[in-house]
Amino acid sequence: MSRQIVIGAGLLIALVVFPLLSPWSTVILTVALCEGLAALGILVLLRAGQVSFGHGLYFAFSAYVVAFMATARFGHEVLLLVPIATAASGLLAALIGLFIVRYRAIFFGMLNLAISMVFFSLLEKLFSITGGADGKRVPRPTLAGMTLERESFEFWMFYITLALCVVAALFVARYLLSPGGKALEAIKSNETRLEYLGVSSRKVLFGAYLLSGLLAGLGGAIIALVSGHVTPELAYWVRSGEFVFIAILGGAGGVAGPFLGALMFQIIRGYAAVYAPETWHAVLGVMLLIIIFFAPTGLYGLIAGKKRAAKPPAAVERAGAGQ
């Protein structure tokens, strides 16, 4: 069984069981999963060597679509709101992706940041439409036609989110092993050869960008429903930075990484807020430094690395044997 499956299965079992033993954790865990989805989108782009510092845009856009639709009582149903908001986010990613995939490295990262900050400003300034800095309340919608109490709603939303995360992670894992996923890696290692294969690196990156926008949008749609409130902060650069932080913390080596990172991020944030309320950002910073210096492959790499040290994979053995 591959390390990815073992780590993913272990994480999944823990996530299925924990809320049953500690029902208070459902909202925190759902938030972590939503951030994990956005960080999974960042992971996809990292495979091409690109970092987006603006994926809060898609997270917030989707959340506001949910807020507007739920307020207008248009499609006041989870099973409608989530796919429609995610698709809207994907559409936005497609539009922005058309020109952003022309850029690489720092320009790619900064353009994403710039666009997300424009959106943040619009959300803040267009008070009469968006509610400004106060944001918008999201009335609790029905779930499969049922009107649920808050606790039940949160409980079921957690398991629906978990199921969606599993599907998303499996899809991304499959995609990364597919020709398109390997072409995405090729953008990082040798774009010249990719062009000399007759492959458009822009098209490859566009597909990945669209996927990452959809993933961030899915996370944003769910967080709007679970928190019951959206604010411009969802599009703020700090939020986008958190997604990158989570992706690095969790590790980009496997699709379980962003979810591991998101859970750890929530734990650090939770405890730091209690025990070091004035300096919890410093705690996060120190944590990031520790990861960068001592575990550059993130939590996923840390776990997977231990297994690798115990038993070298076949490819390493073959290489060691010489040719």
Binding site: F171, R174, Y175, L177, S178, P179, G180, G181, K182, A183, E185, A186, K188, S189, N190, T192, R193, E195, Y196, L197, G198, V199, S200, A314, A315, R318, A319, Q323
Partner: protein, 249 residues
């Protein structure tokens, strides 16, 4: 010439004060094996870059199979049927040899399904044949970064061949390959080119390889093809012997 596949017409390129191409012209017929020889640093690779869209000439035209490809991108030129391998191999070094070749086959076949695992590609058998052509069947599972330069050069050629080009440019295909393997590799490579009816233009410094595998030799000098002829004529030409080959040949 009805079977003309490539025509470079009066290509001009100046970098700063250097005249890299100075009216370079070459006509290539289908199924020819043209060796381009010339002193190191004379601009032979620049000529390949001009013909494959990596650099655009300041004037002149490149016609491939009757179509003007001068202004086209490398991607468009590749899709029309021109492949190339590089002097410094251009590969996906963090991937395995298999993945490099299968990605080329995916590009050729247009197989981009997100549900298809690259290593389960329907053309996986063809990938092993390509590795056999360059004599590297045993290296398939190795990461390219771990391989010596000579092996990488051969993989670079196999990647270009995977696209089934009608015309292939190879920049010093046997440099870095051990002398006893050189002819073996060139023999299988030539057979593969013949079987696929692929025209080949290769830059080469090894005159034994030129003499044995080229059907025509072009001498690059002063930013253009200064001399053309059969291997016999060119390799025995006094000026070529003096300026290109040297007294030792």
């Amino acid at each position: 010439m009805t079977d003309l596949i490539l025509e470079a017409r009066e290509l001009e390129l100046r970098f700063g004060g250097v005249q890299a191409a100075n009216g370079a012209s070459l006509q290539v017929r289908a199924n020819e094996r043209i060796a381009i020889i010339g002193p190191n640093g004379a601009g032979k690779t620049t000529f390949i870059n001009l013909c494959t869209g990596y650099i655009k000439p300041q004037s002149g035209r490149v016609i491939f199979a009757g179509q003007d490809v001068t202004a086209l991108s490398p991607r468009a030129i590749t899709r029309l049927g021109i492949g190339r391998s590089f002097q410094i191999p251009q590969l996906f070094i963090e991937n395995t040899v298999i993945e490099n070749l299968l990605l080329a086959l995916s590009a050729r076949e247009g197989t981009w399904s997100p549900f298809l695992k690259l290593t389960k590609h329907p053309k996986v058998d063809e990938m092993w044949v390509l590795l056999e052509i360059v004599g590297l069947k045993d290296t398939g599972h190795r990461i390219v970064r771990e391989l010596p330069e000579g092996m990488r050069k051969l993989i670079d050629i196999a990647v270009a061949l995977a696209l089934e080009p009608r015309l292939i440019f190879m920049d010093e295909p046997t440099s870095g390959v051990s002398s006893h393997e050189k002819f073996q590799v060139m023999d299988t490579l030539t057979r593969a080119l013949d079987a696929r009816a692929t025209t080949a233009i290769f830059v080469e410094h090894d005159m034994d390889v030129v003499a044995r595998y080229a059907s025509r030799v072009a001498v690059w000098s002063g930013g253009r093809i200064a001399l053309e002829g059969s291997p016999d004529e060119i390799l025995n030409h006094p000026e070529v012997r003096e300026t290109v080959i040297g007294a030792g040949v």
